[in-house]
Symmetry: C2
Subunit: 510 residues, 2 copies
């Protein structure tokens, strides 16, 4: 839809300080680029402000054409020459998917390209490393402890084979500590794994270090993001407690992941109590050579049958589209959660306190002539108190519903935005395989070499498929649970309001 005019179907709030453009439902925008990637469009509004907005939130303006589920809207013949035709899918055919669930006629008709590269510094490294792995020119000796296994379950789904008992790790008691005689202060969190019940102390900077190691080591696993760094207010009680719950979300995701939860660096992070051993372990992790594409050497799926390249392509394309469709939606969902948190804490609280005040003021004003009529005055003041209390409930509530939901979606947002990189590793392996097939047909490569390469391509593909399976189970279990928690807390909240109002009502006469 480049160059075309589109109408915003929904409101979208751009994140301040980014290139995102806030759009209002109904407003007309002009699209400058529709291949920005991950479901984003670039364009400008009628006031000339430009920026990025979700492609799924807009619809091509069609001259009096009815909105239907068709991909190609009906265009009256006389107008066809005046219209810019909607761009055809460049690399992806949405065909079936669009007709399967057309909600709006606006599912992005554009190729998915991956914008924010996770580790751009690694990408050439990855490319050459990947080639070495595929060609078998750099085969590493992997110790048993580092090996990870993939299995195939019903329907051909690949899964990571879990090793050992599942466990949790609880993040508790953030404490302010200092060193250099108080010149430097920081927050220390306590981590206690359930398998040994031994507590370790870690700072945010240690989490940050761990995160870097995990990203380096597991290029085929989207690593959950840490909470954003923050400078101001970081010693405030509320902030610290919130950060604790955010770190708990991160830790939970790692513990639930069959590969990450067994990784050496994570185990070191979570269990090492001795300062000396901690430092040694850190050095060792930083020198670890079994990382990035090299780690494919550690993936074991020897007994599994070869994959059907065509089936793989269809499936990974579908998954890729799924992820890029999810990206702006999850981002917006998170924005709504953050927005609601803020509105409850400030705006709604104030509204209810304003209401409370008006009842209280009325009670006071009537009191002035009310020696024998104390009941109404009293009831009005009680009503004022009830609304004030409701204001306080609004202020407190987000930490039970919108804030945890926002934290949960912060994790998934990070996972989703990392997936395109993971997918591109697979795509590049598939390309290498195609190139090699051509080379073999041109007798420039030995068939045996191709056969080995295919086995290794399958390893990369299966890693992606196992990650996909893991993500789907996360969604099935944990998004489901998060939504339920949210609703339960919302119900409690509105029930509390009902109760407060009922208490106020009971103070009236008659």
């Amino acid at each position: 839809m480049e160059g075309q005019q589109v109408r915003a179907l929904y409101e979208f709030k751009g994140e301040p300080g980014t290139a995102e453009l806030s759009i209002n439902a109904g407003e007309i925008l002009t699209v400058m680029r529709d291949n920005v990637g991950d479901g984003w469009c670039e364009g400008f509004n009628e006031s000339g402000q430009s920026g990025l907005f979700p492609a799924a939130y807009v619809q091509v303006v069609e001259a009096a054409a009815p909105i239907t589920g068709q991909t190609q809207p009906y265009v009256p013949p006389v107008q066809q020459h005046q219209m810019i035709q909607p761009a055809q899918p460049h690399t992806v055919d949405y065909g079936d998917i669009v007709s399967m669930h057309t909600i709006h006629s606006v599912i992005p008709e554009r190729p998915i390209s991956n914008v924010p590269k996770k580790n751009n510094k690694f990408s050439t490294l990855i490319k050459s490393g990947e080639d070495s792995f595929l060609l078998g020119t750099k085969l590493l000796n992997v110790p048993d402890s580092e090996k990870v296994f993939i299995d195939e379950v019903e329907g051909g789904r690949c899964t990571w084979v879990p090793t050992g008992e599942s466990y949790n790790c609880v993040v508790t008691s953030p404490k302010k500590e200092s060193k250099l005689k108080g010149l430097k202060s920081f927050i220390v969190y306590q981590l206690t794994p359930t398998f040994n019940n031994i507590q370790v102390s870690r700072r945010y900077k240690h989490f940050d270090w761990l995160h870097e190691r995990l990203e380096e080591k597991f290029c085929f696993i989207p690593i959950p993001p840490l909470p954003d760094k923050q400078i101001s207010g970081r010693y405030e009680e509320q902030f610290i407690e919130h950060r604790r719950t955010q770190l708990q979300e991160f830790v939970d995701y790692v513990c639930r992941h069959p590969v990450l939860s067994r990784s050496r660096v994570w185990e070191h992070f979570m269990t090492c109590t001795d300062e000396k051993r901690w430092k040694a372990g850190k050095r060792q992790a930083e020198k670890d050579e079994l990382l990035g594409v090299n780690y494919f050497n550690a993936i074991q799926c020897a007994d599994l049958p070869p994959l059907d390249p065509i089936k793989v392509e269809i499936e990974t394309d579908a998954f890729s589209r799924f992820i890029s469709g999810l990206d702006p939606v999850v981002k917006n969902f998170m924005a709504v959660a953050v927005d609601q948190t803020k509105k409850h804490q400030v705006l709604y609280k104030r509204e209810f306190q304003k209401i409370g005040q008006s009842f209280t003021a009325l009670g006071h004003a009537l009191e002035a002539d009310d020696s024998s009529r104390g009941r109404l005055t009293h009831a009005l003041k009680m009503t004022g108190d009830a609304y004030n209390e409701i204001g306080r409930l609004y202020e407190e509530q987000p930490k039970f519903d919108w804030e945890p939901l926002g934290d949960k979606f912060h994790i998934y947002r990070g996972i989703i935005s990392s997936f395109p990189d993971v997918i591109s590793i697979h795509k590049s392996a598939v390309q290498k395989r195609r190139d090699s097939e051509r080379l073999v047909s041109e007798h420039k490569m030995e068939p045996q070499q191709l056969q080995d390469l295919c086995i290794r391509t399958d390893v990369i593909t299966r890693a992606l498929m196992a990650e996909e399976t893991h993500f789907q189970s996360e969604r099935e279990i944990h998004i489901n649970q998060a939504m339920k928690n949210h609703l339960v807390e919302q119900i409690n909240f509105y029930q509390k309001i009902v109760n407060k109002l009922q208490e106020a009502l009971a103070t009236y006469d008659g």
Copy 2:
């Protein structure tokens, strides 16, 4: 805060196609008018766009002043000369009320647009007429049918003696009618008194005529105000239905009033079905001489003992203070009701629909890869629907709670703002009595004349006292009832939200 710079505390999105101005938190605006009414300000932003925004969303820009509960923020002396001082309330002194319960420093410090003062043109007329009555120079012959009686009950309280059975009058079925072959169209309301069950048709302009007659005739009774005149949107269904309920409030107040409910002009208005008699009755009412201060001739309290002037002064002063303390509070209360009505219909509705959309969008996005996992997608869509429905509930709700409360308080606000005029008639009679006492002491007036004048002064005072008693019983019964209705409806509303969310929760797995 007119002419002042203010900082937006919150984001506010103006509704497209209205005069509302979208503002962003933190941005600086210049206020052009702060008396637009109902909590709105008019001003422009730094790009020069102008429009309306909620006064409660902005705060006067103060140079480095901390936000405290004080009404007057601290201003560093060196900066005082550069600053425009926040405008003081124009006509209303919030004094005690503000300091008694200040919650934020942003409560609009301005009077809510005033109900026009009743009949200033009558005041000199009233003054001279009152003197004639007090001096007995103009004694009218009052037919029995026009006589009203005052009695004294326990504690020396005066009351109007009710005559006849109490009744109601129902306002129903507003219909659009037209005349001059459709050139002129108007709304006709049906009135049905319970004592005869005969329906009459009346237009707003008839109500307006009636209101004028009542104000003319009963200078010692605060007449309940009609709903405000409105030009735009007056044929819209919602507007018409709301106007009907507002007229019902007016009619209810008249029916409950022992004097107004028996007045001839009101009976004519409420019962006359014949066009010819209607016109004759109108002419008669317009020629009625028994009006204004003359009507004091109709007040009968012959057998009651003389009043103690000092006790009267103490009591009426207390009542006067009570009324003037109530005035800003009731205005503010009404403003809150109007503001909440609007916020529910626009802002909150939109917020919930935005939440609903984000759940629906997430459901759709997850559906794309969800052949076997329909449950979560379904549940998310149901959740989206639930929040959308809640948005709709917010839009509808005000007509059950805030709107009726606002309408009720529109009536009391009018009554309260009319009381000072009624009180001043009494005050002027008391002054006349004092003047006469001096004249008698100076032998410039006969003691018998003073004695007669005192009896007539007592009539005026007793009329005020009877009105006070009536107002207190209104408050005791009808404000009490209105508050209870409001709370019951609020409870129903939040209970409905709870139910919607529970329905959504039931669609989740596990």
